[in-house]
């Protein structure tokens, strides 16, 4: 089976004035459909950079990035946006909901952007998602009336409402307390199991990592190894 994400020898440099920061130095990675993968690594190791490349919100300096069968380097900005809209869901560390829209409207928004759903279809789909994340009773609330965990659940519903093949989450639990974070990961895991949606998320937290099928460890812009969740937990406990 073809991988849903395929990264070959990818480099990413940031130029800051005269200095060049190499955030990624030759990364290779394959992610398959249904994977629930954690990207782990110290701060500054390149986790966010990698997720941005996979998410088509940024382009690589070198190498090949293929997402759902498309080489992102060859796509125009419009095509990249379309790819994001139809194939990828995003969950952000700080939720990033539209503050002037209600919970319902936030979740509905990607469907509106897709312009292929009737109002009734949208309503049905959004209600389903809100039920799944346990927020059907908060549909009319504004984001600032919700707790952090609730907001992140709205964000998850928004990411999944278009039934994307791939969901990316950059430290989705970093702004939540550990119990809430745990619940969020459980929710993501459930959705992964039920619908086979592929998840790639980054985290510092060993507890969060422990749910993953595999943990990709990244250090200094390079993939160190790809290990099981149990190994990763042990490694963190051992302190390396």
């Amino acid at each position: 089976m073809d991988p849903i994400v395929s990264i070959r020898n990818v480099t990413k440099d940031y130029t800051l004035g005269k200095t060049v920061v190499s955030a990624l130095r030759g990364v290779n990675l394959e992610v398959h459909k249904g994977d629930f993968i954690s990207i782990a690594g110290p701060s500054g190791s390149g986790k966010t950079t990698l997720l941005n490349l996979i998410g088509c919100v940024d382009t690589a300096t070198g190498g090949l990035v293929q997402v759902v069968g498309q080489s992102t380097g060859q796509l125009t900005e419009r095509q990249l946006t379309d790819l994001r809209l139809h194939a990828i869901g995003f969950i952000f560390q700080s939720f990033n909901l539209v503050s002037v829209l209600s919970v319902f409207q936030n979740v509905e928004f990607p469907l509106l952007l897709q312009r292929k759903w009737t109002a009734a279809e949208r309503r049905k789909r959004v209600d389903e998602l809100l039920t799944q994340v346990g927020l059907q009773s908060h549909a009319k609330h504004r984001p600032n009336e919700l707790s952090g965990g609730q907001r992140q659940r709205v964000a998850i519903a928004r990411a999944l409402v278009t039934q994307p093949q791939l969901v990316l989450a950059d430290e989705p639990t970093a702004n939540l307390d550990s119990v809430t974070g745990q619940n969020i990961i459980d929710l993501m895991k459930d959705l992964n199991k039920q619908q086979g949606t592929t998840f790639i998320f980054s985290t510092h937290d060993p507890k969060v990592m422990s749910h993953a099928n595999a943990v990709v460890r990244i250090e200094d812009g390079q993939i160190k190894d790809r290990i099981s969740a149990a190994e990763a937990t042990l490694a963190v406990a051992a302190g390396h």
Binding site: N52, G55, V57, D58, E77, R78, T81, D82, R84, L85, H86, G89, F90, F92, N96, V98, S99, V100, L101, Q105, E108, F109, P110, L112, L113, Q114, R158, A159
Partner: protein, 434 residues
């Protein structure tokens, strides 16, 4: 997409202070624009009405009569026949009057004198004059009496006369002699801008007497049309028709008649020639004033628009800065650049429409109030306004025009910051702090 409208409205509502401030400015500018236009339209129409009534008509059939080649007099002979032709050929006609033309010295008993243009009138036919002249002393209808004259206030003051006082009018005649006629002041009218400075109204027969003209001679025929817009058409038709009927007609020369003596006197012909002109030729200063007023209005509009532009730009900058992360997020989840642009344009459009709408209502109320209050115009300004009270002519069309114009400008100006917002890379936008 309705959601963009919702986002726009809610964002505007969320930043109430900012929205009110900018919206208030836009509303103010709209109201000002409408008022400004209303005032210039008011001035323009009173100016036109006064000028055409006092000195030209809409179409003017004047001409020169020469006994010898070098002695042109601004006279039209056998005018009743011409009036008949005009009545037949001009269905657009409102009314037609004859005016004697002259230039003479008015001398009061105490010796004070002024040089003035003379307009000889048959007051029974001058329905326009009755509307335009505001008689403060005496009675306009008394101009029907032989030997009667109407002066404007300034002229009366200068001559130190009042109604009932006698004047001698002295005009140069052939061979260096002077003809005179004795008249009585029967009415004094309020000054009408500078137009009242150079003319007074004299009983038509007295003017004929002064210049020893026949009964059926006058200076010019003033043709007033139902709609001033048909001036050019009527002028052309009359010119053609009169030529066909065998009248000698002078070549078109868009100048007032008193500029033409020199040319006419240099030409060889004697007898009668007609000159068919329009108000733009005879009272060209009206057009200068209107052009100047328009120019002034444009300058003011330009300044006002700059104020709006700076305000809109600035506010939108701030709004976009604050919402950079939101833009990044929306771009990340699949919103195209064009949509982002549209989102901010809609916001500017909503703000523009709402504010200009408020401005339109304010201006309409203000105009009604000002007109009802009959605010007097300072004397210096009366030179231009030609009216002693402020009149603001606000029409539905001018209000709509201002609303559309200001809204369009607001939206166009917001294109620049909106475009920059839409162009941001999603990552850069998302990582924006603030």
């Amino acid at each position: 997409m309705l959601q963009l409208l919702l986002i726009a409205v809610r964002n505007l509502a969320q930043h109430r202070r900012r929205t009110l401030l900018l919206g208030g400015a836009i509303a103010g500018v709209t109201a000002l624009l409408v008022m400004l236009q209303g005032m210039t339209t008011g001035i323009r129409s009173t100016l036109l009405e006064s000028a055409t009534t006092l000195s030209s008509g809409h179409v003017n059939v004047g001409g020169f009569f020469k006994v010898t080649a070098g002695q042109g007099a601004p006279v039209v002979t056998e005018f009743p026949k011409l009036v008949e032709i005009i009545r037949k050929e001009v269905p657009e006609l409102d009314f037609v009057t004859e005016r004697g033309r002259g230039w003479a010295k008015l001398i009061a008993d105490d010796g004070s004198s002024v040089q003035l243009g003379l307009a000889g009138v048959d007051i029974t036919r001058e329905s326009g004059l009755k509307k335009t002249l505001k008689v403060t002393q005496g009675n306009l209808d008394d101009l029907a009496k032989p030997g009667s004259v109407l002066l404007f206030e300034k002229q009366a003051t200068k001559l130190n006369v009042k109604v009932g006082d006698a004047l001698t009018i002295s005009a140069p005649a052939a061979r260096g002699a002077n003809n005179t006629v004795d008249v009585t002041v029967v009415a004094v009218a309020r000054d009408i801008g500078f137009m009242s400075g150079f003319n007074c109204f004299l009983n038509g027969d007295s003017l004929r007497q002064l210049y020893q003209l026949k009964e059926d001679a006058t200076g010019a025929l003033h043709i007033y049309l139902k709609d001033i817009e048909s001036t050019k058409v009527v002028q052309e038709r009359l010119r053609k028709r009169l030529v066909e009927l065998g009248y000698p007609v002078m070549d078109a020369d868009p100048r007032a008649f008193w500029f033409k003596f020199e040319v006419v006197n240099r030409e060889e012909w004697t007898g009668q020639k007609l000159d068919i002109t329009n108000w733009e030729d005879e009272v060209s200063f009206v057009n200068w004033i209107i052009t100047a007023l328009d120019g002034l209005t444009y300058v003011l509009i330009f300044v006002l628009l700059i104020i709006i532009a700076v305000g809109v730009m600035n506010t939108l900058w701030i709004a976009i800065r604050e919402r950079t992360r939101e833009i990044g997020t929306l771009r990340a989840i699949g919103m195209q650049r064009r949509r982002v642009l549209l989102m901010f344009l809609v916001e500017a459009l909503v703000l523009g429409l709402a504010s200009t709408g408020v401005g339109a209502v304010i201006s309409a109320l203000l105009a009604m109030g000002l007109n009802a209050a009959q605010i007097p115009v300072v004397e210096a300004a009366q030179l231009i306004t030609m009216s002693d009270t402020l009149s603001v002519r606000v029409t539905g069309g001018s209000i709509l025009g201002a609303v559309v114009f200001v809204t369009t400008c607001t939206t166009l100006i917001s294109l620049i910051p909106s475009f920059l917002a839409a162009r941001m890379k999603p990552v850069t936008a998302m990582h924006h702090i603030g």
